[in-house]
Symmetry: C2
Subunit: 125 residues, 2 copies
């Protein structure tokens, strides 16, 4: 990322993203807002990482979708999904993340993946 040193601090001139965008301006102490922006900078970094990781995960599931379509296998695999849920709940506990949230998260991703698998199967038939 190219940063123009003359630009407003924290703003990337090329991308148009304002990391200080907020509806709280004028309602909060500037020192509190500064602390908020500092934490949000970390959240923004985690979000970029999550997007790139999810993109890579979907590349894998697209490969699974093509494999299933080629061999006429069903889009969903309940035995696999049950094992994944148990594993993610346990990992979530280790990571100090709410296991119920981890399960909701996996269901959210898997429902998207199954839609993709169905679309690939429809294209294939």
């Amino acid at each position: 990322m190219t940063v123009d040193p003359a630009a407003e601090p924290g703003r990337t001139p090329d991308a148009g993203y304002d990391p200080h965008a907020t509806s709280l301006d004028g309602t909060a102490d500037p020192a509190v807002l500064e602390e908020l922006y500092a934490i949000r900078g970390s959240i923004d970094n985690f979000d970029a990482t999550l997007v790139y990781l999810l993109a890579e995960r979907f590349k894998c599931t697209q490969r699974v979708g093509r494999l299933k379509a080629e061999h006429a296998l069903p889009p969903s695999d309940p035995g696999r999904e049950a094992a994944q849920i148990q594993r993610l709940r346990r990992l979530a506990e280790d990571a100090d993340l709410d296991p119920a949230f981890a399960e909701k998260f996996l269901n959210f991703i898997v429902s998207e993946v199954i839609q993709h698998h169905r679309a690939i199967a429809a294209d294939h038939s």
Copy 2:
């Protein structure tokens, strides 16, 4: 992770997770299943990374929640959320991920975060 070399390949003896769990057994060619398991191994690694990353992201939003509660700021910040959505859609395009999915994903996470913020505010008052 300790791996018992005598254990069944791909199975971790301590965790009980079976990376070969499937409802497709007997319905698919063993060579196809082997290819499926290889891709699923990568998916499992991405999922563990996602869980740890989400745990770290929630640590940040818990800090935001406490800050907001201490200074009586509202749990949601529509200006911030709009900027985040635009940024994540653009990052998704760069990563070859469906921008509509990236937006749904952020909304999914933010709705969880706002619930946490409300719970922290309720504890604080």
